[in-house]
């Protein structure tokens, strides 16, 4: 099986561990991942104003690139890219006048976008096209005993038009983690916002959010937290020192991408895991469970 893959900017920078673990684990599932040729910025946050057509140009250009690759669908793993691309796609499908304006603006493109591409997130691809039962058959190293808190944040769960699971209590990541042999924990703050871009100039907000969210995972005796968003990962992992300054009882926990746990369970090597890119090193925790 072949699948067009849109990585997004951060997977080529700070989140290279998300990129390599996605490609390696998909290979173990016999899915050939082909990076979208000439992809550009997803748009990075959906513009909410009805009059803001300009910010739909970046996502629509990517949808044109998918058509140029002779495909009618593509997959992304970054929750921000997924959310922005999917919402822009829904929006232009509903508003032919806005789409006509964008196509006119992109007059140098030979291919016109006509609302004929589907945006998939890797999690829904795994559930609906591979199946978690089939995925479980590929597990070489079951993650037995590992207690995992699955964090969805905002972008996988909201708005409901882009969600591929329950808005208030999604469980798709828990189902995946269970297939890998790990134990998902209850996590009441799984869809609470991490503070997102306030990390740039309001780190005190992120410290408060990280303290609350990671504290909730720790209360449920999680060994680690898994995410699907490089911005959530940065805030919940790299801002833990700020959370510790805010709350001396803050307990450090590693934050991993769900694809890293897949790659680990499928027996991929260190080059597919890149645990060296984390702020809180997950290796001691994994070693404690006999997994590293």
């Amino acid at each position: 099986m072949k699948l067009i893959y849109y990585p997004g900017c951060t997977l080529k920078n700070q989140a290279r561990n998300f990129d390599v673990s996605t490609i390696s684990s998909m290979a173990k599932l016999d899915v050939e991942v082909e990076e979208l040729a000439r992809w550009n910025c997803c748009g990075t946050v959906h513009a909410l104003g009805s009059d803001n057509i300009m910010n739909r140009v970046a996502p629509v250009t990517n949808l044109i690139r998918v058509k140029e690759a002779q495909a009618s669908e593509f997959m992304t793993t970054c929750a921000m890219c997924y959310n922005t691309l999917k919402r822009a796609n829904i929006d232009v499908k509903k508003r032919p006048d806005a789409l006509a304006t964008i196509n006119e603006f992109l007059y140098q493109e030979e291919t016109k976008y006509q609302g004929d591409v589907d945006v998939l997130h890797l999690l829904e691809f795994l559930r609906d096209r591979i199946g978690f039962d089939k995925l479980a058959e590929k597990v070489k190293k079951p993650l037995a005993g590992l207690r995992v808190a699955c964090y969805y944040g905002c972008l996988l769960a909201r708005p409901k038009e882009v969600a591929f699971d329950d808005v208030e209590n999604p469980t798709i990541m828990e189902d995946l983690i269970t297939a890998l042999g790990a134990t998902p924990v209850q996590f009441p703050l799984k869809t609470e916002c991490c503070g997102a871009y306030h990390t740039v100039d309001k780190p005190e907000i992120i410290a408060e959010r990280t303290d609350k969210i990671m504290g909730s995972a720790h209360e449920e005796q999680a060994d680690l937290v898994v995410v699907s968003c490089p911005l959530c990962a940065f805030n919940l992992d790299f801002r833990q020192d700020d959370a510790r300054r805010l709350n001396p009882d803050f307990y450090h926990l590693p934050v991993l991408y769900f694809t890293q746990l897949m790659a680990l369970a499928f027996g991929c090597d260190d080059t597919a895991l890149r645990f060296d890119l984390h702020h809180i090193d997950p290796r001691p925790t994994l070693a404690g469970r006999g997994l590293a």
Binding site: L48, D51, A157, R158, E192, F238
Partner: protein
């Protein structure tokens, strides 16, 4: 004792209210102040004016006061309010329309001063953080 409160304002239903309704695509008067948006807002603790009050002030056309709040810049469009509103009002869209009003004015009052950050701080940030912050807070 029955008390009737009469609200009369020349701003009510004025051009500001019409503009916010048009850009956000929302009917402001649908809000009956249940407060669910503020109850679930993860940023409420950092706001000077809570989301349900933002909607009330928008209904009443309180342009000057609204555009000066810190709250409209604290909202990160996480959509929790939108998904829980019993009247299907997209509060996040209303707040975005308020931000756009500030950023689209002649002064273009950018809220993020990237020059104020050190090169080290910028270098440590992932692109996803910088781009989204600039998209939301600058003209």
């Amino acid at each position: 004792m029955n008390t009737t409160l009469h609200i009369s304002s020349p701003r009510f239903g004025g051009t500001f209210v019409a503009k916010i309704e048009q850009v956000s695509g929302q009917k402001l008067l649908a809000c009956y102040q249940c407060g669910k948006c503020s109850a679930g807002c993860p940023m409420a603790a950092h706001m000077d004016v809570l989301p349900n009050r933002i909607i009330r002030m928008a209904q009443l056309g309180m342009e000057k006061q609204l555009l000066a709040t810190r709250a409209i810049w604290i909202c990160v469009s996480c959509m929790t309010c939108n998904s829980r509103c019993p009247k299907d009002i997209r509060i996040a869209e209303v707040i975005e329309a308020l931000r756009q009003t500030v950023l689209g004015t002649v002064n273009r009052d950018d809220q993020l001063k990237i020059q104020a950050l050190s090169p080290e701080a910028i270098g440590a940030l992932p692109p996803i953080a910088l781009i989204s912050a600039l998209r939301k807070q600058t003209s």
